[in-house]
Amino acid sequence: MKGMLEYSQGDTVIHKLNPLSKMIMAFLLCLSSFVSSYILMAVCIIAINLTIASMAGIAKKALSLLKTLLKIGIVLFLLQIFFIRTGNMILDLPFGLFITDVGLEFSVLLVLRLAGATMPLVLMLTVTKMSDLTNVFVQKLHIPYKYTFAFITALRFIPIFENEMNGIIEAQTARGVQFDTRNPIKKMKLVLPLCVPLLISSVKRIEGSAISAELRGFNIRKKNSGYKQYRFYLKDYLIMLLAVVTLAACLFIA
């Protein structure tokens, strides 16, 4: 899963779409997956996801994501399948457990729905630069720049803090703290106190960051300051139409 949300560079049609149309498409596909009521339909949506991913040149990433999601799905499947008691019994198990045909169908559908609904959002983020996404939010949806800036800064600071935490842990390990213990509870107890130095250094860092942003004119930014323009082209309308048709199909066939 590591590096899943990282932007993967590319020059494909999908990369060049307007970030907003990508977002809308992902959202509609996600919805379609939720309203799909047949297994075949859910499989179709996953197939659409995979097709789009291979068009964007990230088929490998999409498949590994699908694999991870299906692994998580197994747990969900097992939980779900024993709870549904309506329908015809197809397998009798000890301890009063049994599996019915309705239960089986529903559980499979649930897992496929989950996969189909998660994939488009994750894949959309891997083919869209975060800055493009927030820029388009400011320009087209008129969300205040302050909020998008805060959001993007928070995302940017995650790896920085991760680094810092590793630095603190290494420094403490060098002084004999046993972070390499196998006991997770013991490890937890050792890591928790480190939050204090991490917090202090982060606050300091963020203060510096704020000063630096202010000295580059953050406060005098105006609504139309954005340089990059995000227009909609024919391909954007086409892809959105495709997504709407998919959703409509899922709704009506149900």
């Binding site: 932007y7 630069k129 993007i152 920085i160 960051s209 000063i211 630096s212 202010e214 580059r216």
Partner: protein
């Protein structure tokens, strides 16, 4: 250009003045190096120039600081930022974007640079600094030196008259440090930007700056051209500033009446100095 008149400052919860009794004039086109122990007031000095003091850090502010004819107390930080560009020590903390191009765009967009001019400014500055190929790179994949170059470019793209840098090479290796200073010299000579740089590596400062300020306990201890300032090794050692080895050597030779002339500031000059001494003293043999 920059003028300090009886300037003193005490941080809100500070016990004593971080800086006191500073009287100083810095002219257009100067390259000023600032050095001193930690706690000597170097960072406070940079904050006073770029208006972070008194606008961001509260405290007791005495005297006057005039930058480009404007009193820093009366002008807003954004207003000052138009003439003073600032680069900080924390390389990652001062970035605002994840891609190099966006990092440069941030300031340009904010200051309302006309959109038709933005492209030219970005490509010009990247070319000048020599990092054109990094334009679409993710900042997290760059080396420390490259990141600092990006940070400086992002500030210089705004075309400030003055560039203030607080230990820009603190996290860098010697070679990248040398590169950063070379770049500062180029900006100073080609674009006429006044550079004020705080730095711990005295060798770099003495080689590149036109003027050195040595701070000690909140006031200016020594001030002048590197040659003048570095003449007295023992005086510098007294306040804990290490003289560059080439300057120490020159001072030593001067004390023994073997050499008189300007203090060398880099290896080449030192080599020439030693060469000339050997030539003069070994001629008879």
């Amino acid at each position: 250009m920059i003028e300090f008149k009886d300037f003193s400052f005490k941080y809100k919860n500070g016990e004593k003045n971080a800086l006191s009794g500073i009287n100083l004039k810095i002219n257009r086109g100067d390259f000023v190096g600032v050095i001193g122990n930690s706690g000597a007031g170097k960072s406070t000095f940079t904050y006073a120039v770029n208006g972070v003091i008194p606008h961001h850090f509260e405290g007791d502010f005495y005297g006057e600081v005039i930058v480009n004819g404007k009193d820093t107390v009366e002008s807003s930080p954004s207003e000052l930022a138009l003439s003073v560009g600032s680069v900080f020590q924390d390389i990652d903390g001062q970035m605002v974007a994840s891609v190099v191009e966006d990092e440069l765009l941030f300031g340009l967009e904010n200051f309302g640079v006309p959109h038709q001019e933005i492209e030219k400014r970005i490509s010009d500055i990247l070319k000048m600094v020599g990092i054109e190929e990094l334009r679409h790179r993710n900042i997290s994949t760059l080396s420390g030196g490259q990141k600092q170059k990006v940070a400086i470019s992002a500030v210089v793209a705004l075309m400030p008259d003055i560039l203030v840098l607080d230990e820009p090479t603190a996290e860098l290796d010697p070679q990248s440090s040398q590169q950063i200073f070379g770049m500062l010299r180029m900006l100073n000579e080609k674009m006429g930007i006044t550079v004020i740089v705080v730095e711990q590596k005295i060798m770099l400062l003495s080689e590149f700056s036109k003027r050195l300020l040595i701070f000690n306990e909140g006031s200016i201890f020594l001030e002048g051209s590197p040659q003048e300032v570095l003449k007295d090794t023992s005086k510098l050692l007294e306040i804990g500033v290490n003289c560059p080895r080439v300057a120490s050597l020159a001072n030593c030779l001067t004390d023994r009446k073997l050499y008189e002339g300007r203090v060398p500031v880099n290896i080449e000059e030192a080599e020439a100095m030693v060469g000339s001494i050997i030539k003069v003293n070994c001629q008879g043999q």
